[in-house]
Amino acid sequence: MAKLILKNVYKRYDNNKKKNKKQNDYAVNDYSLECKDGEFIGILGPSGCGKTTTLRMIAGLEDITSGDIFIGETKVNDLHPKERHIGLAFEDYALYPPLNVYDNIAFNLRAKKVNEEDIHKEIMRIAPILKVDDLLDSRPVGLSGGQKQRVNIARAIVRKPKLLLLDEPLSHLDGKMRQVLRTEIKRLHKEIKCTTIIVTHDQLEAMSLADRIAIMKDGKLQQFGSPLEVYDNPVNEFVAGFIGEPPMNLMTVDITKQDNELFFDFKGSDVRIGVPKRYQSIVKEGMTVKLGVRPTDLLIGNENSKGSKVKVAVFENLGEERRISIRVGQEFLTLITTEEIRYKQGDIIKLEVNAEKTHLFDIKSGERINP
């Protein structure tokens, strides 16, 4: 295992058909990242953000337009993929259909002319970890999605790579299998202690597996931090809305003054929330900002509450939690609680917010406004 360093990496695809080459035509734009030895890193972003391109550059399947990539102490920019000592598990498994599981895993060891005895020892070592030891004689065609993925990963790690790259490992699995494999990958990482990079568009996958998450958009790194950090302290509107399910409530609000108190006034409705103390000094009457608050941080006030009165548009009892949706213009403000309460459409409740857990973002740039 080794640490991974990306320094100011750029990637541009040369497209001759374009008559006017735009200045910002980069698929990956000034990307820098430093991962510790043995860390589990998630590269997360919507489709088209450049995450797969980044993965391919780390693996050596794509050229780097400029910048450097180090695996351990070695600069790997011009190294062929097979010289980089990485294990790559493809998104669509790419198992060799005519070979059985054992031969699939043994394939690249045999290509490296490792002798059969050593190959056998290695496979017998990792097969039980990935729970494929009773599948060694089967062919890929008879395996379930989850089983294929385990073989895929076994094949990637059997060479004891310095770096393990997983490309959207859970995206083609259904709900239950996804949960099972999520737990297994996490335990696998603990067992083999290999620096692992997972690339995904599913924030749940990244949150549950990674030690730290690198969030990307349009080729640029947005934030790099632990799951709790990106959840509690998103640096901009995009990260705030991308992480967390159900997503954070992000609404445009005007700052208004009433009775000498400052309020967040939701556009398109008469819902108001008092401005928390820590923002009092930085917002002014007449400003417009983007307010972000997670559904679990919206609260129902009791009879003495001074929160503004709102009408319940939708009440959902979803077993483990209750969700209340409140109409604000064209959108909904969503509130989630685990309390055993029941409401109906049309009921009036008092809305309060957990003051510590509100976020403000600049209306133009989307950047976080810090108190």
């Binding site: 959840y231 809305g241 159900p246 939708v314 959902e316 009892n317 909904f332 459409q345």
Partner: protein
Amino acid sequence: MAHIELDNITKKFNKVTALNNISLEVKDKEFFVLFGPAGAGKTTILKTIAGIEFPNEGLVKIDKEIVNLIEPAKRNVSMVFENYALYPHISVYDNIASPMRSPLYKKDEEFIKKEVYRVASMMKIDHLMDRLPSQLSNGQRQRVALGRCLVREPNVFLMDEPLAHLDAKLRHFMRAELKEMQSSFNTTTIYVTHDYLEALSLGDRIGIINNGAIEQVGTADEVYYTPANEFVARLIGEPEINIFNVDLVNDNGKLKVNMLGQDRLFQLEDEVIGTLAKHDNEIVDLGIRGTNISYSLGKEDDDYIKGIVYSLEPIGNKSVLIVNVNDELIRLIAPNNLQAKLDSEIYIKIDMKNALFFDSEDKTFIIRNNQERLIKGMA
């Protein structure tokens, strides 16, 4: 609006039995959800009601009238297909207008224009009227398909996984929108989904189906708090309910539970003791949801059981903690800032007040505490 009945419907495709002697009743103006895993037969039921599929046996009735031999066009049902089935060569406006231009349901163009725009603004697609389906995103196509279904006034709305291909954000939004609109539907609706959140949220009643047979029909509270069997219990709820064998032991005349390899015997609620005592088996299955299990780093009281941390997965506003107790993996909910090393020691406590009991042989539901109050919708 109409009353829909399926009487003993059996449907086979070649050798495969898709529907096995199913009987179902949907009341007038009810919003009925058909819920089950993929391949259970939900879409087949919808198509049988619509008349697109013909049952091998059994009767389909709309408003007490047998409609088996009536063509789909004449049954006056409106359907949203899972893959939208939009007409690719005409605009969004024409797609939504199409049901009102057919020979059977023809309306004049003035009326059509009004109705199309009414539905389009409800679906928030009024700015897309001139586009072709191929120029729309998945979410927009979904809403056009819904619009085409809702623009009519049929006997029944049939909706086949209408939110399935939307991204998570849009799905939550559309689900809330649909629920808000429900009260204005005024039409019997049968809604198919494999997402339990949609089922619990939208259904007046939920029909749970598996392998062509109905497992349970009930309100959201009924299927969540008193699932008919272990299959239903596992289907609903996140994380999945924990179910494991326990022994019923007579401890000085009082019935207690021996579980998870512990020496100590655990108390049962008085309400359940009576029924369990009458139960033949000494082994039953105990089901407990992750929200009804607490954890602690130390043994707080005698009811805490020692285990080993198997996995800790933060998922936003909470974490899923999996604890290995005596080789049984127990899933529970923990706060999102919990730090616990894998394979370290931890203690869990099961809230027996919320335990469900199942027969360990046929997996059917026996009893739980507080049954009556819970299914009446009270905490």
